[in-house]
Symmetry: C2
Subunit: 251 residues, 2 copies
DNA sequence: CGTGCTTTTGAAAATCATCAAGTATAGTGG
DNA sequence: CCACTATACTTGATGATTTTCAAAAGCACG
């Protein structure tokens, strides 16, 4: 399990103008629910933070003092068992809102898998903004509902799919996530290239497998001309349709 | 996979007075967020329905026309793969709110495991109530957040726990759910008795195992004096503390 | 007191995990 | 710029937990 030396988290007292105004993540985040005119109310609470790759910025069980919004980069969200077994419950990228929890402590940890920028809000102070702008609370409910649907899909994967089906599902979801979200996306004319900023170990802990099984299964996919593996952190999808049907057991 | 003959769903045009006034599930449900004085606004939309055991009242993929609130009984929520493999994502009992989904179709199916009474609301009409009472929307966000936490815990179980740990977790969660919720609970002086209205097949599909493994593991627990099995639908917990530590791998 | 279902129990098989090297890859410092 | 080291990834052999296949035992209900 990745463990980098712990460099100090860089906190910038960033308030040049309105940090939210030019925020690239806004179109993809809950912040967008607030009218641009009222945005200052939100940006007054926001503190921009840089997080180095490998840095844990949410510790499971810690008092939940903050909400976070991912501006750039990718984080893995995870839960641990006492003996160190780890389940990654999801990956958070641009626009993802983190910290939803009724309890006073975080129910999961979060660690950057690549350098990140995140927006931090005090939970108590954000509550005031939420009360003032019900549209944002409504947006949060949408976000939570979507995550719930994704979580149920992942339960189906973890509880009932084979290793092959899990990897196929993972690759397909990476493709669709890349299309739906962030960067206008590099043109993919049938052979989309998905970036895998996370390690094989992360993928394994996300899919409930071991790194060896992940590696073997990807190698086998390559042999079957379903994918190409130019390097460990990128995969070229050669037959998305077949992968998609594989992912639901229709081989 | 349980498949009973399909009896017609009984719909009662129930509006004797205010059906919500004497509702036993209200203290445990989102309805409680609304002031008793404003309750008529909600009860005007509510239609009470009886569901026979074995009846599917939410079909995965169907247009999501309604929200539901469970008044009594228990339902299993599930997702299916094309070849029939099933993952039960949760059990819904008194007070559970169902139907959260941004999409226009249900992301999961729901089937009664014992006779139920449920409250049905039109999604479009409930939207008006939610807009009028932000407190209820807020409550829904709390509910969704809690379910998200539970879903993450279940992902940890499905992805990383052994069969023994899964069953131990299941039994412990049944005990705590019984204490926290519904019926003032029968006095349990160290040996709580948990009801299992669902079949072994349901438990298996919930824990990502087969019925055989569920049966074998429970039998082994019995042999180890951790539980008693008076009958197939009830279990007496003889050593909750040991089960609890077993559930996190601390054997 | 059958009849049909669920549950339990047993034996064999299989998928995936574990153990163990060996091979890339990336970052570091000479 | 190139070895050198650390880490990540791949590949192979073996093993174990869990599944699959099969059948008997309980239970509920007519």
């Amino acid at each position: 399990m990745a463990q980098l030396r712990t460099r100090p988290m860089v906190v910038e007292a960033s308030r040049p103008m309105d940090p939210c105004a030019g925020c690239e993540a806004r179109p993809f985040s809950v912040c967008n629910a607030i009218d641009i005119a009222d945005m200052d109310r939100l940006s007054a609470l926001a503190v921009t933070i840089s997080v180095d790759a490998g840095r844990t910025f949410i510790e499971e069980g810690d008092v939940a003092e903050f909400f976070f919004n991912v501006t750039s980069g990718t984080a893995k969200l995870f839960k641990l068992l006492p003996d160190g077994r780890r389940q990654i419950t999801g990956f958070a990228s641009m626009g993802t809102f983190l910290g939803l929890a009724v309890s006073s402590t975080y129910a999961f940890g979060a660690e950057a898998v690549e350098p990140m920028r995140i927006c931090r809000f005090s939970r108590t102070r954000l509550r005031g903004v939420l009360d003032a702008f019900p549209a944002m609370e409504k947006r949060l409910l949408e976000v939570a509902s979507n995550e719930l649907v994704a979580a149920q899909e992942q339960m189906l994967l973890l509880g009932r799919k084979t290793a092959r089906e899990r990897l196929a599902s993972f690759l397909v979801s990476r493709v669709t996530a890349q299309i739906a979200a962030p960067i206008p996306a590099m043109p993919h004319q049938g052979t989309p290239r998905v970036a895998l900023p996370m390690t094989r170990s992360d993928i394994a802990d996300y899919l409930g497998l071991t790194i060896e099984t992940v590696s073997r299964t990807l190698t086998r996919f390559k042999g079957e001309r379903l994918i190409d593996i130019p390097n460990a952190s990128a995969i070229v999808i050669r037959d998305l349709a077949l992968l998609a049907s594989l992912s639901t057991g229709l081989r």
